[in-house]
C-alpha cells in the first residue's frame, strides 16, 4: 500500500528497517553488514579509549590505545620488532607444517580403513587430552633448549587434534561417491587419491586454517622454553618490567598476524575450490 507508506515518518521507517534486520537466518545488505561489523570493532575500541582516558583504571594496568601504538613504534625502531615477528612466525609455521606432514597421511588412513581407526584413534583421543604444556620438561630433556624445542611444543599442541580432524573430514566423504567409483572400476589407490582426497580437500584446508589458529595460541607457551626472542617471549618479559603497553602490543600483533594468515587461507579456499562458490 504505497499511499500508506508515504505517511510513515523517517523514524518509523528506521524502526521498520530495524525490525526487518532481525529475521531468523535473514539476509543483510552489504552496506548494513559493514555498518554492523564496524560497530562491532569500533565500540570496544572506543570503550577501551574511554576507560584508559578517564583514569578510572591505573595506566600501569590499562594503557590506552595510543600508548600501545607508540610502544609498537618504539619496539619496531629500537627493539627489533621485525625479528621477533619473524622468529615467532617461523616457529609457528615450522611446528604447524610438521604436524600437517604427519597428521595428513595418518588421518587419511584412520578415516579410510577401519583397522587403522581401531588401532590409532583411541590412542590419539587419549593423548590429545594430555596438556601440551606439561610436555615442556620432557621436551627440554629430549630435544634440548634450542629452536627445536619451541617447534616441538607447537607440534605436540596441534598434531593430535589435526589427526582426528583429518580423519573426520575423510569420513564425511559421501559413501555414494566412493561406491560410484567402485562401480566404474576404480582401484583402491584410485579411490583414495581421486575420490576421497579430492572430495575432502575443502574440509581439509579448513582444518589447516583452524589448527593454524591453535598453533599461534601455543606460541607463548613454546617461548617459555628458554627463548630470548619472539613475540611470546617479549610478552612474558614485559610482565617482569610491568610494561603493560608492550603486553597489549604483543597480544594485538599476534592477533593481527593470525587474522592475516586466516584470511590468506580463506583466499586460497576461494581460489582452489571454485565449485563451492559458484551457484
Amino acid at each position: 500500500m504505497p499511499a500508506d507508506r508515504a505517511k510513515y515518518s523517517p523514524l518509523m521507517q528506521l524502526c521498520a528497517g530495524w525490525q526487518s534486520v532481525w529475521v531468523i537466518r535473514g539476509q543483510l545488505s552489504r552496506r548494513t553488514y559493514l555498518l554492523f561489523a564496524m560497530a562491532g570493532l569500533l565500540l570496544p575500541l572506543a570503550a577501551w579509549w574511554w576507560l584508559a582516558a578517564s583514569g578510572v583504571v591505573d595506566k600501569v594496568f590499562m594503557p590506552g590505545p595510543m600508548d600501545v601504538v607508540n610502544r609498537i613504534y618504539t619496539w619496531f625502531m629500537e627493539d627489533n620488532l621485525s625479528h621477533d615477528m619473524w622468529i615467532s612466525t617461523y616457529r609457528v609455521v615450522a611446528g604447524f607444517t610438521l604436524s600437517a606432514i604427519l597428521a595428513f597421511p595418518i588421518g587419511l588412513m584412520i578415516g579410510t580403513y577401519r583397522p587403522v581407526q581401531a588401532l590409532l584413534e583411541p590412542l590419539t583421543d587419549f593423548i590429545r587430552y594430555m596438556p601440551a604444556v606439561a610436555f615442556i620438561p620432557l621436551v627440554m630433556l629430549w630435544v634440548g633448549i634450542d629452536e627445536g624445542s619451541k617447534i616441538a611444543i607447537i607440534f605436540i599442541g596441534t598434531v593430535f587434534q589435526m589427526v582426528l580432524m583429518v580423519a573426520e573430514d575423510v569420513r564425511r566423504v559421501p559413501i555414494t561417491q566412493i561406491e560410484a567409483a567402485q562401480t566404474m572400476g576404480a582401484t583402491r589407490g584410485e579411490i583414495v587419491s581421486l575420490v576421497i582426497f579430492q572430495s575432502a580437500k575443502p574440509a581439509l584446508l579448513d582444518t589447516l586454517r583452524i589448527t593454524m589458529g591453535w598453533a599461534w595460541t601455543y606460541l607463548v607457551v613454546a617461548e617459555l622454553v628458554a627463548a630470548n626472542s619472539g613475540l611470546g617471549y617479549s610478552i612474558l618479559r614485559a610482565q617482569r618490567f610491568m610494561q603493560t603497553d608492550k603486553i597489549f602490543a604483543g597480544i594485538i600483533l599476534i592477533g593481527l598476524i593470525g587474522l592475516a594468515i586466516d584470511q590468506l587461507f580463506r583466499l586460497i579456499h576461494r581460489k582452489s575450490f571454485p565449485w563451492l562458490y559458484k551457484k
Binding site: T176, E179, S199, W275
Partner: protein, 281 residues
C-alpha cells in the same frame, strides 16, 4: 532366450543375522531385458540391487552374470544412485568422462581409445540435453540435470548391465516423463540389460517388461507381473484400461504385503482428541 543375470536362493542378513533383508530370492533376467522392482519400503529392493552391483556380498546363495559368480563391483555393471553420487569438484564433462580418465591414468591405453570415448561422451551430452552446461559444476544444476549427468556417466563405458536405484525419485513429474522416454530409448538402442528399482508403480509398469513385486519381513519376491503392453510405449498409454488394470492389481498387492492399512477407528480417535483445542479458539 539368453540369461544375463541369474539369482539363485540369494539371502542377505544384516547385524549378525538379526535383520533378514533378503531370503531365498530366485530370478533370471534375460539379456536386453528391462526389469523393474517395486514393493513396500524396507522389502530389500536396494539390497538386492546392491548385491547384483557387487557393493554388498550375499550371506547365502549365488548371483551370477553370464554364468560367472560375481565378485565385487565391475565395469560390466554400471550403477545410478538416487542422489549425491556426482563429483562436485568436476565439471559435467569431467564427471561423465571419469571412468575413462581412470583408464587413461593407467598404462596401455591408446589415444584412439580416448578419442572414441570423447566422441561417445559428446554424443551422450547432446542426447541428455546437457550441451549448454557441459562446463558447469553439479551444484549449479537442477536435480533433474544432475541425474541426467549421472546416467550419462554410467552409460559412457557402454555397460552391459545398468542398475538403477530410484533414480528419478527426487524429480518432478514432468522431468520424470522426459527421463522415462530417454531411458527406454537407451535401452532399445544399446540393448542394455536394465534392473530398475522404484516405489512408483506407474513408472514400474511403463518402463518394465516385467514388474517384480517384493514383500518385506523377510525381503522376498512375492509376484512377478509380465507386462504385455506394446513395446512402443508412449505417455498416453498410462490412461489405457490395460495399464490401469496392472496398476490397480499391483497397488492392491503391495498394500496387502506391506502390512499397512487405514485404521478408521484410530483416525476417528485422533480427530476426537483434537476437539477441545479447537473449541478453545
Amino acid at each position: 532366450m539368453e540369461i544375463k543375470i541369474n539369482i539363485e536362493n540369494a539371502g542377505k542378513t544384516f547385524n549378525d543375522g538379526s535383520i533378514v533383508a533378503l531370503k531365498d530370492v530366485n530370478l533370471s533376467i534375460a539379456a536386453h531385458e528391462f526389469v523393474t522392482f517395486v514393493g513396500a519400503s524396507g522389502c530389500g529392493k536396494s539390497t538386492l540391487l546392491r548385491c547384483i552391483g557387487g557393493l554388498e556380498s550375499l550371506s547365502g546363495g549365488d548371483i551370477n552374470i553370464d554364468g560367472r559368480s560375481i565378485d565385487g563391483p565391475g565395469v560390466d555393471r554400471a550403477m545410478v544412485f538416487q542422489h549425491y553420487s556426482l563429483y562436485p569438484w568436476l565439471t559435467v564433462t569431467e564427471n561423465i568422462k571419469f571412468s575413462r580418465q581412470l583408464l587413461v591414468n593407467r598404462e596401455g591405453i591408446t589415444s584412439s581409445d580416448v578419442e572414441a570415448a570423447s566422441g561417445r561422451a559428446d554424443a551422450l551430452i547432446d542426447l541428455m540435453g546437457l550441451g549448454h552446461v557441459r562446463n558447469a559444476y553439479p551444484n549449479q544444476l537442477s536435480g533433474g540435470m544432475q541425474q541426467r549427468v549421472a546416467i550419462a556417466r554410467a552409460l559412457l563405458p557402454r555397460p552391459q548391465i545398468l542398475l538403477m536405484d530410484e533414480p528419478f525419485g527426487a524429480l518432478d513429474a514432468q522431468t520424470r516423463e522426459v527421463m522415462h522416454d530417454l531411458i527406454l530409448h537407451v535401452s532399445k538402442l544399446e540393448q542394455t540389460t536394465i534392473v530398475f528399482v522404484t516405489h512408483d508403480v506407474e513408472e514400474a509398469i511403463y518402463l518394465g517388461q516385467r514388474v517384480v513385486l517384493m514383500a518385506p519381513r523377510p525381503g522376498r519376491i512375492d509376484t512377478i507381473y509380465p507386462i504385455e503392453l506394446s513395446a512402443q510405449r508412449d505417455q498416453d498409454m498410462k490412461l489405457a484400461p490395460e495399464f490401469l488394470r496392472y496398476k490397480k492389481e499391483i497397488l492392491a498387492r503391495i498394500r496387502e504385503t506391506s502390512g499397512m492399512r487405514t485404521d478408521l477407528e484410530l483416525l476417528e480417535r485422533m480427530t476426537r482428541q483434537a476437539q477441545p483445542q479447537n473449541d478453545m479458539q
